[in-house]
């Protein structure tokens, strides 16, 4: 019984940890939207914008990856 509760708590905790991915998703959306608008207005600057866009996406995504790592640690390492 107690073991079952611990397993359930682990699963719920892993699920809750991934809530942080919401922010990263919104951030990546905003970054890409801005970059696409900029590319549409100034197609010549596409390469510079693309590099910066990938950088911005990588930074925004990092937060989601931390959430994922926490979730994976909860699922496979803890307990």
């Amino acid at each position: 019984m107690t073991g079952d509760i611990i397993i359930a708590a682990k699963l719920i905790g892993a699920g809750l940890a991934m809530i942080g991915a919401i922010g990263a998703g919104a951030g990546i959306g905003i970054v890409t939207s801005g970059a696409v608008q900029a590319m549409g207005r100034n197609p010549d600057a596409t390469s510079t914008i693309q590099t910066n866009m990938i950088l911005g996406i990588a930074f925004a995504e990092a937060v989601a990856i931390y959430c994922l790592v926490v979730a994976l640690l909860i699922l496979f390492v803890v307990g």
Binding site: T51, I54, A58, I65, Y66, V69, L72, L73, F76
Partner: protein, 334 residues
Amino acid sequence: MEITVKESAPKKKWWRWGVNRWIVLGLIILGFIGTQYFAPVRPFIQLPAEHWINHPLFTLPFIGEFYFTNTLLALLIVDVLVILLAFFFNQAVKKGSLVLKGISGAVEALLEYLYNMTEGTAGKWAKTIFPWFATITLLVLIANWMELIPGVDSIGVIEKAETSGYSVQTVAGIQTIANPPVADGGFTLVPFVRVVSTDLNFTVALAIIAVIAVQVVGVRAQGIRYFSKFWNVKTFFKKPIFGVIDWGVGLLELVSEFSKVLSFAFRLFGNIFAGSVLLFVMGALLGRLAIFPSIFYMLEFLVGAIQAVVFGLLTMTFMAQATQGHAEHEEAHS
């Protein structure tokens, strides 16, 4: 050139109608039939890499025991592949033809793309920074794409499971683990080769190397003045309040240097580990539908390439920032 194209065009027409697509279709049908009889097993997912030999090779002080793991074998394979790639590329360049063909053409296109990116960001320091960028990108790219090779992660030794495992069956003379899970005393599969990016040891090591290289490039560009970024006392006495703030910002820069290691390491590890778990689980859940796991293979192909470029690109950008002085930057602002 035009004439040769016209001559070879009619010959190729029959082939162009498609042999490869029928091979792919045949493989899909074969996979569909195969999974009806031998359903894929839900994998046992383990974070640390599995040991090949149960006793450590050697023990280092402070760091600990050194095991020969299956991810280490994968790293050795990746090293051999990178060296072979470099060798063939060198051979192709030595031949002197302007247009490279096949795999060396692809490498040339990749390197050109990376070099243009470096030159756009780093300017005159491109020649110093580019080798780091290209090395990291090629290594991580090949390491990530190894995940897509059938047999990596799925061929190995069958061992007794600790908690719950699977039963063992023999298919065409090969022992595999089979689907009815056993509550206790079952068997699990320990793969010979596991993708190296799913081992935190590799990603942390690569991240530390990248961040130290950033400091080296910074010192080479600016000399000892580079460290004034971290211990900024230039404006300490001129402008008392803002000077203290500048000094505090410098300390934060020092912290951000350490957080770079963390974010480098966990980004690559998290993406690729989650990707391989995704491939296992989707293979087990949708294995009977055969075509759906291949869509996730496509996704992982993209993610592997993007993560490799992002790792290299971030290293390159940090190096380019390190070559530009903090002081000149500030003067340009005010």
